[in-house]
Structure formats: structure tokens, C-alpha cells
């Protein structure tokens, strides 16, 4: 099946589940597991609000399930990276999907952002901590 058909079936093009963020908190680290798309508008604003409101100093944004991103989404990652640096924190982009990785390579952001696979950033399933989710 055409992978874009898969996106349609998931409602990506139909405006359903535009962005879902599952939150795993194990201070001083919080992991934001994003699925859907991070594009200009409510999705980017939702991730911005979520990431900037967290008290943890290390924020891991997992992008494995992100199927679409635009320049606004890339700019948001840069914004969050700079904000973390200013606060002596760290923003890690974890498991970028092939779509996200390609855009980051095109815009030379792989050399700027802290990008990691699952090994270095995983919050284990049995970790104690807050878990919740929100959808934009």
C-alpha cells in the first residue's frame, strides 16, 4: 500500500489526530512522544506550550511517529533547543522519522540539534513517573 494511503487511513490528511503528545516524566527528564504532524498552526503551538511548560530540565522530543513537518516545525525545534540552552537544560530530538530526518538534513539542522536514537534517551517502561497524553 502507498504509504500516503496509510497516512490517509490514519486520518493524517483528514485532520484527525493532527498531533498527539504522550508525556512520560521521570525528573529531571521528560519525554514527549509525538505522533501525527508538527506544522504551522495549532500543532506547533501545542508542542511549544507543552515543552515550555514542563519543569524538567531535560526534554526529549520523540519524533518517531511524526509523518509530516514543515519549516514552522523545524523552527520550533530550534526555538526549544535555544531555550533549553539558555536555561542550562537540554533538548534532545529522539528517533526522528525518515521524513523528519530528511528535512533536518536538508536544512543542516542535524549538526545543530542534539539528535539521538532510542538507546540514549529511553525512559524505560517500568520507570516510575507521571504519564499522560494530550491531543491537538
Amino acid at each position: 500500500m502507498h504509504s500516503l494511503d496509510v497516512l490517509r487511513n490514519k486520518g493524517i490528511f483528514a485532520g484527525i489526530d493532527m498531533l498527539r503528545i504522550d508525556i512520560q516524566s521521570a525528573p529531571p527528564v521528560v519525554k514527549l512522544l509525538c505522533s501525527g504532524r508538527i506544522v504551522l498552526g495549532v500543532e506547533a503551538e501545542t508542542l511549544r506550550c507543552m515543552a515550555t511548560s514542563r519543569p524538567e530540565r531535560r526534554v526529549v522530543v520523540d519524533l518517531q511517529q511524526i509523518h509530516a513537518m514543515d519549516a514552522a516545525g523545524l523552527g520550533l525545534l530550534v526555538e526549544l533547543h535555544c531555550r533549553a540552552q539558555q536555561r542550562a537544560g537540554l533538548l534532545t530530538v529522539a528517533n526522528p522519522s525518515s521524513c523528519v530526518r530528511r528535512l533536518m538534513a536538508l536544512t543542516n539542522l542535524e549538526s545543530v540539534l542534539h539528535v539521538a536514537g532510542s538507546a540514549g534517551t529511553r525512559i524505560a517502561d517500568d520507570d516510575e513517573g507521571e504519564r499522560c497524553a494530550m491531543t491537538a
Partner: protein, 138 residues
């Protein structure tokens, strides 16, 4: 069918909330005529950037402003023309935020992405009309 030229026009307002739905309608039309998955993804990202610029910069997020998007499909290429009613901009000074010195800015990647993903990107009417072209390989 393969040698037929097809076109569809999409008209919408400068409302950011409506933009994604319009993009999806445009991509539904593109999907009917694009057999190459990677090409379709490239077009989707470029259209997203073009529409975002038309809404944000060309229309100032003003729902009273009209944006037109014409999608033209020929056997050789898919061409998308996005027109807004704004004043346009000086395309010569469009920024490129991919250099090391400017890489930490939060803006300026949209035009670069479009130019990277499409075969032709050009502006007319002082920058208020964007023309994106993707050659068909599939």
C-alpha cells in the same frame, strides 16, 4: 488519461485554521495523478510552505483575504500556482537559514525547503504569486 492535461483550482481565505484542510484537498487531487510516493511527499511539504507563506505573510492571517491555488497536471509535470492578495516581497532578499551562521534562527527555511524539494520555484507579481513545479518521473 495519461496524456490528458488536468487542472483544479482551490480558493480559500487567509485563515490559518482552514489552511491544513485546503492543503489536504489539494493533496487529494495531486494524489490522483501522482504515482511516485516520494514526489507526493515533496509536493506536500512544498505546498504546505507555499500556503503558509500566503496565509501568514501574504494575507496577514486575515480571513477576509482570498488565496487561490491552481494545480495543473500534465504528463510532464505537476505545477502549483499559489496567489495571494498581499504586497509581495523582495524575493532577492529571502533568507537562507541553513548556513552555519544563521542556522539557529527560527524562520527562513520555507523557501529553501521548497527550492530543495521541487524542480522549479519561481515568483511573479512582485512575490505574491508562487509557482512550484515538479517533473513527473512515475
Amino acid at each position: 488519461m495519461e496524456h490528458e492535461a488536468l487542472a483544479s483550482e482551490f480558493v480559500f481565505t487567509g485563515d490559518p485554521a482552514a489552511m491544513i484542510a485546503v492543503r489536504d484537498r489539494i493533496m487529494d487531487f495531486v494524489h490522483e495523478h501522482c504515482a511516485d510516493e516520494q514526489q507526493e511527499i515533496d509536493i506536500m511539504i512544498a505546498v504546505q510552505e507555499g500556503l503558509a507563506n500566503a496565509v501568514l505573510h501574504g494575507s496577514g492571517n486575515d480571513p477576509s483575504k482570498i488565496i487561490r491555488c491552481l494545480v495543473d497536471v500534465t504528463p510532464e509535470a505537476i505545477t502549483i500556482v499559489i496567489s495571494d492578495s498581499g504586497q509581495g516581497f523582495d524575493t532577492a532578499v529571502a533568507t537562507d537559514s541553513t548556513d552555519d551562521g544563521t542556522n539557529l534562527t527560527q524562520h527562513g527555511r520555507g523557501i529553501y525547503l521548497m527550492r530543495s524539494l521541487m524542480d522549479e520555484v519561481s515568483y511573479r507579481r512582485g512575490g505574491s504569486e508562487l509557482r512550484l513545479k515538479k517533473l513527473r518521473t512515475g
